[in-house]
């Protein structure tokens, strides 16, 4: 039995800090650079009951051809799909350098046995996923069974093996308060998470700036203790470029510039990419273009 004790979080203080972060003014070169960086951090996502092979292939094509009219654009970081679509995505993205991430572990509720979750994870890994996005057992967390949550993450990490990176979704919208967000972050990191991630996108609120700041602080404290870097992925609810830039400022001023890289920071989003593209075009041409010029896959 381990006892988990986390530093306390002050909500008002967090909100004050977030408020200050959102007041940064990002202009000119820095704006274009920020937009491209954000684009390069997007995990293009489809996680719907009605997902099909064709939907996934279409999205994978989009991932590689974000806006061919504009030369030298970065690609997105990854596409994120259900385990049964991993192979299709891997084949579609072959040679592009774009990673395939798969949700697993009875996503999104996480209600199943550990065996099923391990099988789910192994399926994604066997199909060639580079990254696995698991959900924690929020029910067990609320019951105070932190050891269960920890052991489960550790078991999934083991199922991922050495080369597959594990993102641990806390589903912060179900955790109730920021102290719980911090505690869940610490448990996930201790259990071997390579990334901690806010949300499934199925629960509102999904990612928010305050929640992300709390998680970044957990990552910072872990770095101070061990020198080890952990990645961060806010997911859900980030649909416009301006908000994405606020997130990047937060990362920069909390963890520093080393985290400004898609190896360490991701956005889980589907519509964000097109808004980023629109803003990039606006920065380059000086005018907004019609949304119809940007493909929706």
């Amino acid at each position: 039995m381990q006892t988990f004790v986390s530093p306390k979080v002050d909500k008002v203080g967090i909100e004050d800090r977030v408020n200050r972060i959102t007041k940064r003014s990002i202009k000119k070169k820095a704006k274009l650079e920020g937009l491209k960086m954000a684009l390069n951090m997007v995990d293009l996502t489809t996680l719907e009951g009605m997902d099909t092979t064709n939907k996934v292939t279409q999205m994978c094509y989009k991932a590689q051809h974000l806006h061919d009219e504009f030369p030298n654009l970065p690609t997105v970081a990854a596409v994120c799909v259900y385990p049964n679509f991993v192979k299709i995505a891997v084949d579609a993205l072959n040679g592009s350098g774009i990673k395939v991430a798969s949700v697993a572990t009875a996503f999104p509720s996480g209600h199943s046995s550990l065996d099923v979750k391990i099988t789910d994870t192994k399926m994604a890994v066997d199909y060639g996923a580079h990254e696995v996005d698991m959900v924690i057992s929020r029910g067990k967390f609320h019951m105070g069974d932190y050891n269960y949550v920890y052991d489960e993450i550790a078991a999934i990490k083991e199922a991922c093996g050495k080369s597959v990176r594990l993102k641990v979704i806390l589903e912060t919208g179900e955790l109730g308060n920021l102290d719980n967000v911090r505690l869940a972050s610490d448990i996930a990191i201790a259990a071997g998470a390579d990334f901690i991630k806010t949300s499934t996108g199925k629960i509102k609120p999904a990612a928010t700036l305050p929640v992300t700041l709390v998680m970044l602080e957990a990552i910072k404290d872990h770095y101070y203790k061990t020198g080890e870097m952990i990645g961060m992925k806010p997911a859900g609810g980030i649909s416009n470029a301006k908000l994405a830039l606020h997130y990047l400022i937060m990362v920069k001023e909390t963890l520093g510039v080393k985290w400004l890289d898609n190896h360490w920071f991701r956005f889980g989003a589907s519509s964000l990419a097109n808004d980023l593209l629109m803003q990039i075009m606006k920065q380059s041409t000086g005018a907004y273009q019609s949304a119809n010029y940007f493909s929706k896959d």
Partner: protein, 488 residues
């Protein structure tokens, strides 16, 4: 915590481009007179002095210097307005004028913020988000009290005092003018106010607003000048009340000067506030509070949290977090929307701060500063912290009034209360802990006018502000801020 892990790096990638607030919407005249009896007048001496931008050392305008004759004219105008229009007016009507001033400040908030940053060196983020909104809020708040004084002080028959002489400092020029003028007007007094000589411009802008609000002539008189002008106000026999915000040294001189007279007084003087972090505190938010506590307005804040006490068990971690947070601050052009640390208000103040930096190092304290480039022109001091400090260090005893933090450690709550109170000052303090009972235990023993818990430098017109011990007497703000301007 003392390990070899590299500090976080906050620059070298994605450095922000300049984002300066434009200045084309403001107007500053080449020269300003004295605002006496509702009009701008030339000073009787004919003397003017320059007001400069401390970030560039460029001249912004020439400011009139008021001598004793001008002071006398201003006091006479205030007395006449008091006996005539202002004390006869119904409270409700008086309130309307004050509301009008508040609304005009809001309308002109963008210009006021830019002028404040140009003239004083403070970041536009602060003048825009703190100084100007609080200024307007103060007028709104006190406008509301005008016709409710009898309810505020039941069965005590509150009456105005007469003519108030008010001398304000350079750190929050516009906000301090509001803190002084709003309660004085609300209680039916008339005013002669002198801004600090390095930051006259927003007080003059306020005079223009008062003119536009069509206040009866002489109700508010704003005269500019240096210490001699202030002394003229303090010593004028027809002034009924002195309100002063500034250094403890000058406060003592004023108290001597008015001893034996009938003048009422409020003094808001220096401070050396303790900011206390317990091991159970939300540390990241505490660190943010420490940053805001000492580096807000370049530390030119009388209630700045200039002494930090950290419980020894979390000292290394807090220090590491503080140093990293300092490295993410941006120093530079006060008009840039991203600037965290602006210019030091004057050459003289910079010399004072630098003197203390030398003393601190000579005393054996270890100095750490933001690693940044300092602009060639203007007056600048990188945010600084000192470790290896004890209560006996000069930098832990004297008010520096700059971005300089002295850090000490403690073991128990009793120890830190003793150390925190071990100062001639007593303006403010801060405490950071997750435990409510600890907050109440500590705040009830702290000899400081304001104690913030899990926050710092929060200001609101509804909240009284003022000091214990040599930090002054009397309260400004809130219901308490009315009493210094009333006789019962």
């Amino acid at each position: 915590m003392k390990n070899k892990i590299k500090p976080l790096a906050f620059s070298g990638k994605w450095d922000l481009d300049p984002a300066p607030e434009s200045t084309d919407h403001i107007s500053i005249k080449d020269q300003y007179g004295l605002f006496i009896n509702g009009k701008f007048k030339n000073p009787s001496s004919g003397n003017y002095f320059p007001s400069i931008n401390p970030a560039t050392e460029e001249k912004l305008s020439m400011i009139a210097e008021a001598n004793d004759k001008d002071v006398n004219d201003a006091v006479s105008a205030a007395r006449k307005a008091y006996n005539g229009a202002w004390s006869k007016m119904t409270a409700k009507e008086r309130g309307k004028y004050i509301y009008r001033i508040a609304r005009l400040i809001q309308e002109k908030s963008r210009e006021l913020a830019v002028v404040e940053s140009l003239d004083g060196g403070k970041p536009i983020r602060e003048s825009r988000d703190v100084d100007v909104p609080i200024t307007a809020a103060h007028f709104f708040y006190y406008a509301g009290w005008t016709d409710k004084l009898k309810y505020a002080f039941p069965n005590r028959n509150p009456e105005s005092v007469g003519v108030a002489g008010q001398v304000i400092p350079w750190n929050f020029p516009l906000m301090m003018a509001a803190w002084k003028i709003a309660p004085a007007l609300a209680t039916g007094n008339t005013v002669v106010l002198k801004p600090a000589e390095t930051t006259s411009l927003t007080a003059i802008k306020l005079a223009e607003i008062i003119q536009e609000a069509d206040l009866p002539a002489g109700v508010v008189n704003i005269i500019t000048g240096a210490g001699a002008t202030g002394a003229g106000i303090v010593n004028h026999p027809d002034i009924d009340k002195i309100a002063f915000t500034g250094s403890t040294g000058v406060g003592k001189i004023i108290m001597k000067a008015i001893a034996g007279t009938n003048k009422k007084s409020t003094m808001e003087l220096g401070g050396k506030a303790a900011n206390i972090i317990f091991e159970d505190a939300p540390l990241d938010q505490a660190v943010e509070g420490v940053i805001n506590g000492i580096y807000f307005n370049q530390g030119h804040v009388c209630c700045a949290g200039s002494r930090l006490f950290v419980q020894e068990s979390v000292y290394e971690l807090v220090l590491r977090k503080l140093k990293d947070r300092i490295q993410s601050l941006i120093l530079g052009n006060p008009l840039d929307k991203n600037t965290d640390i602006g210019a030091i208000n004057s050459k003289e103040q910079l010399a004072t701060i630098n003197k203390y930096l030398k003393i601190g190092q000579k005393e054996g304290a270890e100095m750490f500063q933001l690693d940044c480039s300092i602009p060639k022109k203007g007056f600048w001091c990188a945010p600084t912290l000192f470790t290896n400090v004890s209560q006996s260090h000069v930098i832990a005893k004297e008010e520096i009034f700059g971005p300089v933090l002295a850090i000490q450690t403690f073991r128990t709550i009793d120890e830190v209360i003793t150390k925190a109170n071990n100062t001639p000052f007593g303006l403010s303090a801060g405490v950071w802990t997750d435990k409510g009972s600890k907050i109440f235990n500590l705040t009830s023993q702290m000899r400081a006018g304001v104690v913030w818990a899990n926050t710092y430098n929060k200001f609101d017109p509804t909240s009284p502000f003022g000091g214990y011990k040599e930090s002054g007497h009397g309260r400004e703000g809130g219901l308490h801020g009315l009493t210094p301007y009333l006789n019962f």
